[in-house]
């Protein structure tokens, strides 16, 4: 019976989540570093913009994405001209997953950067170290525990993404049908057994995320205060 079970929603979900998390990891860190060095007023404005997807309901976000990327929009036309049809494709699951997870990564990365002792960064500058070296060799390693938390949060958020993904990627089995969407449609069609299997799987994955996070957090703290 297990053999007959269609596992594609799991693979779609894992692929989407992994790729979104990687994208969001770099974008979030980059955005956090950029915003951190801006003058205070610009910082407040960009902070609001970057956090916005977090406070919007996912369906509203999906609606806007549909308007923005749909075939009738200028952006959609442009993509179409380039031979790309984003809406209802697998890529759309990555787009929605990344957008909902981005604020989480961005905010945790900023928090992690800001909790690094200011005098450590200042002293690095007086030593004549270039900004790039300070970022890569000092700021990033010292922010590691926070960044790990950001990764886990982003991963979990993307894994659970439902609303925006359904709006712009739809429910195409084997292509855009992720685990949460599979659960919804299984329940809707009365297939409680399948739904239950997926629910169990998601719970297991989420649990794994949490364990990984606490393990990582522990190890990073150990690294910093190793004696």
């Amino acid at each position: 019976m297990i053999m007959a079970f269609d596992l594609t929603p799991l693979w779609v979900s894992l692929k989407t989540t992994l790729i979104s998390t990687i994208i969001v990891f770099f974008l979030g860190i980059g955005a956090a570093r950029w915003v951190m060095n801006l003058p205070p007023r610009a910082r407040v404005i960009l902070d609001a913009i970057f956090t916005f997807p977090m406070i919007l309901p996912p369906t509203v976000l999906g609606f806007f994405l549909l308007l923005l990327l749909g075939n009738s929009s200028p952006m959609g036309q442009l993509l179409k001209g380039m031979g790309i049809n984003l809406i209802f494709s697998w890529t759309a699951t990555v787009v929605s997953g990344s957008i909902v997870a981005f604020p989480l990564m961005y905010r945790t990365a900023r928090g992690a950067f800001e909790q690094v002792d200011r005098s450590i960064i200042d002293v690095a500058r007086t030593l004549g170290l270039p900004k790039r070296i300070i970022f890569l060799k000092i700021l990033l390693p010292l922010s590691l525990p926070g960044l790990m938390a950001g990764i886990v949060l982003s991963f979990s958020r993307t894994l659970g993404e439902f609303g925006a993904t359904l709006m712009i990627a739809g429910n195409i089995p084997g292509k855009t049908q992720t685990l949460p969407i599979a659960i919804f449609f299984a329940v809707e069609s009365g297939d409680m057994k399948t739904a239950l299997a997926w629910v169990g799987l998601i719970m297991l994955l989420s649990l794994l995320c949490m364990v990984l996070q606490s393990l990582w957090g522990y190890r990073s703290r150990y690294m910093v205060s190793r004696r």
């Binding site: 450590i120 007086t126 030593l127």
Partner: protein, 344 residues
């Protein structure tokens, strides 16, 4: 090392305004908390931007508001020692020092040299958190000098050390800095006196004095400076005769020559003489409280005169001496030697 600082910066509670020049000397900056001492250092290092003015180090312009020059800290060649040392906690001692060594040099060799010069052998692979306070400070100094700064800034360098380590580091510091001149912020008068030729006194962002340590301690230019430099006994004063001043706060007349117009008189606690026999400028006194150190005692006393109010004065005396006087029993006299009185 030649340094010119002439800056102004508006701060929430006052406007910082300092102007001084240094030519191959070690300088201490003293002043009450929040007087702008650390802010001055931060402006020189480039962490903070003054509103107006110029900073020139060895003919290199670090900051000039008129010409729009403001070098970032990484281009200033100014070393900065933080109160907490700000070591990189995820790097070993050798890595902390190595990262500061310019790429053109043979890093391994330089690290070995520096580790030896700073008395750190055996600690190359240790992480900062496992080091003692004195070791951490030496690593921070070593890292700073590895970058070959032209000027060294020390922000209350000894405040985090216990007394033994502090004295040890105060002895070592000039040698470790290898002839590099420094500008040091401190609260401690003895530290300032020991470690610098000149002292700059600040209050509310303004420079009150900038002079050699001897002149400042022996002839403070005004009362505020004298107070910051540790003067505790102060009274208003007026000259009543050519050789006599009146000190109403203390309720006494004091024999004292010197300048004609006098507004205040003061005497350092170390200069008040407590004895069991009267003499010149001496008054019967009652000791109210005693703070005992190992070898000295601070006596808080009241003059027993007609107009005495509850004004306590301080005298710092040798403990042996104080014991001997106590044996003689009362009365005790406090004497203010005329040549030790400071007139303002």
């Amino acid at each position: 090392m030649k340094l010119l600082v002439d800056i102004e910066k508006k701060l929430p509670r006052f406007t910082l305004s300092v102007r001084f020049e240094v030519d191959r000397e070690n300088i201490s900056i003293m002043g009450p908390s929040g007087s702008g001492k650390s802010m001055t250092l931060k402006c020189i290092a480039g962490f903070e931007k003054p509103d107006r003015g110029r900073i020139v180090l060895n003919d290199r312009v670090l900051f000039d508001s008129e010409r729009g020059i403001n070098l970032p800290p990484e281009k200033r060649k100014v070393g900065y020692l933080f109160q907490n040392y700000a070591l990189f906690p995820h790097m070993t001692v050798a890595e902390n020092i190595g990262i500061a060594i310019p790429r053109s040099e043979n890093r391994e060799k330089r690290i070995r040299e520096i580790i030896k010069n700073f008395h750190l052998p055996g600690l190359e692979k240790a992480y900062p958190l496992s080091l003692s306070g004195g070791e951490q400070q030496r690593v921070a100094l070593a890292r700073m000098l590895a970058a070959k700064p032209e000027l060294v800034l020390l922000d209350e360098p000894f405040s985090a050390l216990d007394r033994i380590l502090r004295e040890q580091m105060q002895q070592l510091l000039p040698g470790l800095l290898h002839g590099n001149n420094y500008l040091m912020v401190t609260h401690d008068m003895d530290e300032a006196y020991r470690l610098s030729a000149k002292i700059l006194v600040m209050e509310y962002g303004k420079m009150l004095a900038f002079d050699s340590r001897e002149r400042l301690f022996d002839h403070p230019p005004n009362l505020a400076v004298a107070r910051i430099l540790g003067l505790r006994n102060v009274s208003e004063a007026a000259r009543v005769r050519e050789n006599m001043i009146m000190a109403p706060r203390w309720g006494c007349l004091l024999e004292c020559g010197g300048k004609e117009k006098v507004s205040h008189v003061g005497i350092r606690s170390q200069h008040v003489v407590i004895s069991s026999s009267p003499g010149i400028n001496s008054f019967e006194c009652e000791v109210v409280r005693i703070l005992e150190d190992r070898f000295a005692a601070t006596l808080f006393f009241r003059l027993l005169l007609n107009h005495t109010r509850e004004i306590l004065l301080q005298a710092i005396v040798d403990k042996e001496h104080w014991k001997a006087i106590q044996k003689g029993g009362r009365p005790f006299f406090a004497c203010f030697p005329p040549d030790k009185l400071l007139l303002f």
